[in-house]
Amino acid sequence: MSLPLFFFYIFSAVTVASAFMVISSRNPVHAVLFLILAFVNAAGLFMLAGAEFLALILIVVYVGAVAVLFLFVVMMLDVDFADMRRGMLQYAPVGIVVGIVLLLELLLVAGSFLVAPDAASGSSLPIDGTMDNTRALGLVLYTRYVFLFQGAAAILLVAMIGAIVLTLRHRTGVKRQSTAAQLGRMPADTLQVVKVKSGEGLQ
């Protein structure tokens, strides 16, 4: 057994175990934390496969940002898990069907690799071993697939604007701070210096 293989088994075992704990733990916060553990171990698997850029993007984007917001929401919610479990048997058949379909697809992919190992190599781009994969990915993404890449970015942007528009509500009667107005105020605009003579007071 080589060292990478040893780490492969560790990472994949922890990934599978924590993925199981995501759906079986009673506390929703623990479930999210197990999900994060699964993400981190999946990043480890990417790293072993030589895709170090994808591994770190997974950590930065999913673990560092998406999962934080996830955790944020789950902590704020008061979820009664016993209540949610009551209907679990109802959904079980649907879940089993989805699971079987996924399993079949995975078997098909693995099977095609076994039957015809060079079938996949015709469609994919040749990997340049001398180049680190950040550069290789960038060269492909911004030349050959630039329109698809920009299209995906545009869809994400529209989705983001959509989410903002859906949750935006303009409340009336809210006093907002305008920093520019505050900084632009001059003493002459607001202050009036008055010399008051003793015994006369102000008019």
Binding site: G64, A65, L69, T179
Partner: protein, 365 residues
């Protein structure tokens, strides 16, 4: 067992006495850890001394000469106290949170090149690794705040989640501007690029290395990075996470003894990591400011620590001079000022590099 031998060689090898083929990782790790902890102890004292000096106080001055041993006395005091775990706390997560903070803070130092090629792991995506590790730092705070099962820690945790995620965005964009100029994600390459190209070369005085460093051409980004680093590490004036006037001590309210010590340690080590990142990205890392004999005699390691200390001094001065920000103003700076500014800078830098052909292109002309 082939892989055990390979692992032992990698971890514990000593070529000098015929054990293995390379110097073991464990020894390098120990050297880095011990050096870092001692440096942190004195940086902690320096922080308090600077803060005291600004307020015309003496600061810690009792333990050892000039209070030099104060941090070690504090360490012993924390370790020998009883660690109290609140009755309603989630025990495992409560104790895991400080460990996560301290471990992640230390993990970032693995890729920092403290001298030429002096990183423990000289990986070609070093800067991305640093970004990843610092983005994980928020978990220690959130988990600690939630597991305490108390309202002030929880409010602190929620604030930190929003704050740290927001400022990561502008830090990421600042890093992208630097990477555009360098053309490599390797931290050592970023430093080499600052030595081998830049303003000093352009005006014909290549020995004035400090004019080469990215702080000059990317000055707005340097300022954005410095302020974002303060916010990212929850340093004052952005320490809403533990603002004592509102939240007692924020997410650390329920912590005591060694777990608290680990939080403090993790916080200071990640502050130092941010200082080191500033040094690497903008201040030329281990290169000497002037490439002439009296300066080049000083080894790169010393230059690196001088620069890190200097950046930390700026952090400490910000703590003592600037009053604490209000939370909505903090968010406003992050999203409405820094994000557009750094986005525009990314576009400008990309345009300039494309049109003029400047840049280091990963060392390949």
């Amino acid at each position: 067992m082939d892989f055990i031998n390979a692992a032992l060689d990698y971890l514990l090898g000593i070529p000098a006495i015929g054990l293995g083929t390379q110097i073991g990782f464990v020894y390098k790790a120990l050297a880095l850890l011990v050096g870092l902890l001692i440096f942190t102890a004195f940086i902690l004292l320096a922080d308090r001394k600077v803060w005291a000096a600004v307020q015309l106080r003496r600061g810690p001055n009792v333990v050892g000469p000039f209070g030099l041993l104060q941090s070690f006395a504090d360490l012993l005091k924390f370790v020998f106290k009883e660690a109290i775990i609140p009755a309603g706390a989630d025990k495992i997560l409560f104790l895991a949170a400080p460990l996560i903070t301290a471990t992640l803070a230390l993990a970032g130092w693995v890729v920092v090149p403290v001298f030429d090629g002096g990183a423990m792991a000289n990986i070609n995506i070093g800067i991305l690794y640093l970004l990843g590790v610092s983005s994980l730092g928020v978990y220690g705070v959130i988990i600690g705040g939630w597991a305490s099962n108390s309202k002030y820690p929880f409010l602190g945790a929620l604030r930190s989640a929003a704050q740290m995620v927001s400022y990561e965005v502008s830090i990421g964009l600042v890093i992208i501007t630097v990477l555009l100029c360098v053309g490599s994600l390797n931290l050592n390459d970023i430093i080499l690029a600052q030595r081998d190209m830049g303003l000093a070369h352009a005006i014909g005085v290549p020995w004035l290395t400090f004019l080469n460093w990215f702080w000059l051409p990317l000055f707005p980004m340097f300022v954005v990075f410095y302020i974002s680093a303060l916010a990212e590490t929850n340093r004052p004036p952005f320490d809403m996470v533990e603002g004592e006037s509102e939240l007692v001590a924020g997410f650390m309210t329920e912590y005591s003894a060694t777990p608290y010590l680990l939080f403090m340690l993790g916080e200071y080590i990640s502050i130092l990591l941010m200082c080191a990142m500033t040094t690497v990205l903008f201040l030329g890392g281990w290169t000497s400011p002037i490439d002439l004999p009296p300066f080049t005699w000083i080894p790169g390691l010393i230059w690196f620590f001088i620069k890190v200390t200097l950046v930390f001094f700026m952090f400490a001065m910000a703590k003592s001079i600037v009053p604490r920000y209000r939370y909505d103003q903090l968010m406003r700076i992050g999203w409405k000022l820094f994000l557009p500014l750094s986005l525009i800078m990314v576009i400008i830098v990309a345009f300039v590099l494309q049109l003029t052909g400047w840049g280091w292109h990963g060392g390949v002309a």
